[in-house]
Symmetry: C2
């Protein structure tokens, strides 16, 4: 695939308890991104519901949907109408099991691929293992406009995930996200937002890929989502960044030929030493 230019759109919103309202607002904002020229649009993690994993043992079975299902139907129509790619995070139900998933809809409106979140946190206010089965596979999607990988939120802290999708051929890694501050808590370990941004910029540099993070805003019970959705280039430079409080649509042009510039100039991919990386498969947790 030629490494040309492509406009991406990020939809950063707040989320209410009303799922119909959430989908309506998200469609409106996606239309805004399309109007601004976006060809690949990414919604935030679990875009249609509040971040329910902050509550333990809540019955959320009626919030889940199938793929294909209601969300993919709505966004497939939009994708087809405007010939755009849309990355749609979905609280997925498959038989009796649930996943934190993504459907990637290609510019012809068809579901091109699906990814189920691989790394799941289980921490205070982020009890994802209580709600989701883990996915077991990384892959990339060859969309009409670019080869993209979609990883989800907590995946963004794992260099392994970014590296694997790069080796599989990704030019852009999207990270739909739901992350924020905890109300009335002073984090002992340091600045969460800064660390969140830094590690993702690091993935961009290590892999010579563009990174796009899309996070929600607003306060939901004990969580204050920090927005700050951003795009960085393959040398970790922030190209665009959203506010930490407001809903926002960001559209920016990526020059994917910059991936080649970094990869050829610095040789990080060609100088890897997979012959001595076996320890990475070690289950040891330290």
């Amino acid at each position: 695939m030629e490494h040309g230019k492509v406009k991406v759109g990020l939809i950063q919103t707040s989320v209410t308890e009303d799922r119909t309202l959430n989908i309506k607002k998200t469609v409106e904002k996606a239309r805004e991104a399309i109007f601004l020229g976006a060809k690949i649009i990414c919604l935030q993690e679990l875009y249609r519901t509040q971040y329910f994993p902050q509550w333990l043992d809540r019955d959320v079975s009626d919030l889940a949907e199938t793929i294909p299902g209601e969300s993919t139907e709505v966004f497939s129509a939009l994708a087809r109408e405007h010939q755009v790619v849309i990355i749609v995070p979905i609280f997925e139900k498959d038989q009796s099991l649930c996943y934190n998933s993504i459907a990637v809809i290609d510019a012809d409106g068809k579901i091109l691929c699906k990814y189920r979140k691989v790394h799941l946190p289980q921490d205070p206010l982020f009890y994802e293992k209580s709600y989701f089965q883990a996915g077991h596979e990384f892959h990339i999607c060859k969309t009409r406009y670019a080869r993209v990988a979609v990883l989800i939120c907590y995946d963004q802290w794992f260099p392994e995930a970014a590296r694997i999708v790069t080796l599989q051929g990704a030019d852009i890694i999207f990270y739909p996200t739901a992350i924020g501050w905890i109300k009335d808590a002073e984090p002992e370990e340091g600045d969460w937002l800064e660390a969140w941004q830094t590690i993702q910029r690091g993935h961009a540099i290590a892999n010579g890929v563009h990174v796009v993070a899309v996070n929600r805003v607003g306060i939901e019970d004990d969580l204050i989502f920090w927005g700050s959705s951003f795009i960085c280039d393959p040398f970790g430079r922030i190209i665009a960044k959203a506010s930490d409080k407001k809903e926002e649509v960001i559209v920016a042009e990526l020059d994917l030929s910059r991936n080649d510039l970094v990869r050829e100039g610095w040789g990080f991919l060609k100088n890897r030493r997979p012959d001595i990386y076996e320890f990475l498969l070690n289950p040891r947790c330290v």
Copy 2:
């Protein structure tokens, strides 16, 4: 090993053509670090010679030394005298082969372990493959004061290396380095120094380790070494940083219990998925 506090010392110097002068100056600065309370002292990459890999096809055979050899003898004596650990980068000759190596001298003055640089660049002004054989093994050193890993310069761009030594038990990763700007060149891909710092801060965050980078200063022919040696904590926060032009000795106290704080709070190590990381061993270079 208890995760307590430990003072580390970084020696950032300029390097002349006179190898005797270089070693003398480095010993003086190491004494300064010892005086300031450092228990683990790290010298910069190839501390004793100018960065000769910028020149192709130079005869450097008389610059190489063995391990043990002249450098380890000098620093072993210093280590023993003051009961400190010293990390000594050495242009190593072993039989007819040369390596870009490190000897770690423990506080009793004995050589505790040796590491040979695994990832070698071969780019304009960094022709390392013309001078060094690559190493084939990662490991950590259980020194008297901390479990440390030493990786060397270009290794710092590879998340795999940082992850492997973390899984092996490292609490601090040291990166002796020789990196700088190229004279009269405007880097197309962006800010090298910023990317260099960012990716290493990313390793600290991903792995819950302290990271210590030690770089040289001064102009050597076409390279302007940017110094900026730094220490960051396991959440990527810069604790101490040296100038980009001046020789400097930095001594700072690390609180290794912060490693546990980040590791327990965020669970990046326990939530890895080595069962599906096999693709990392893929030799594909993209």
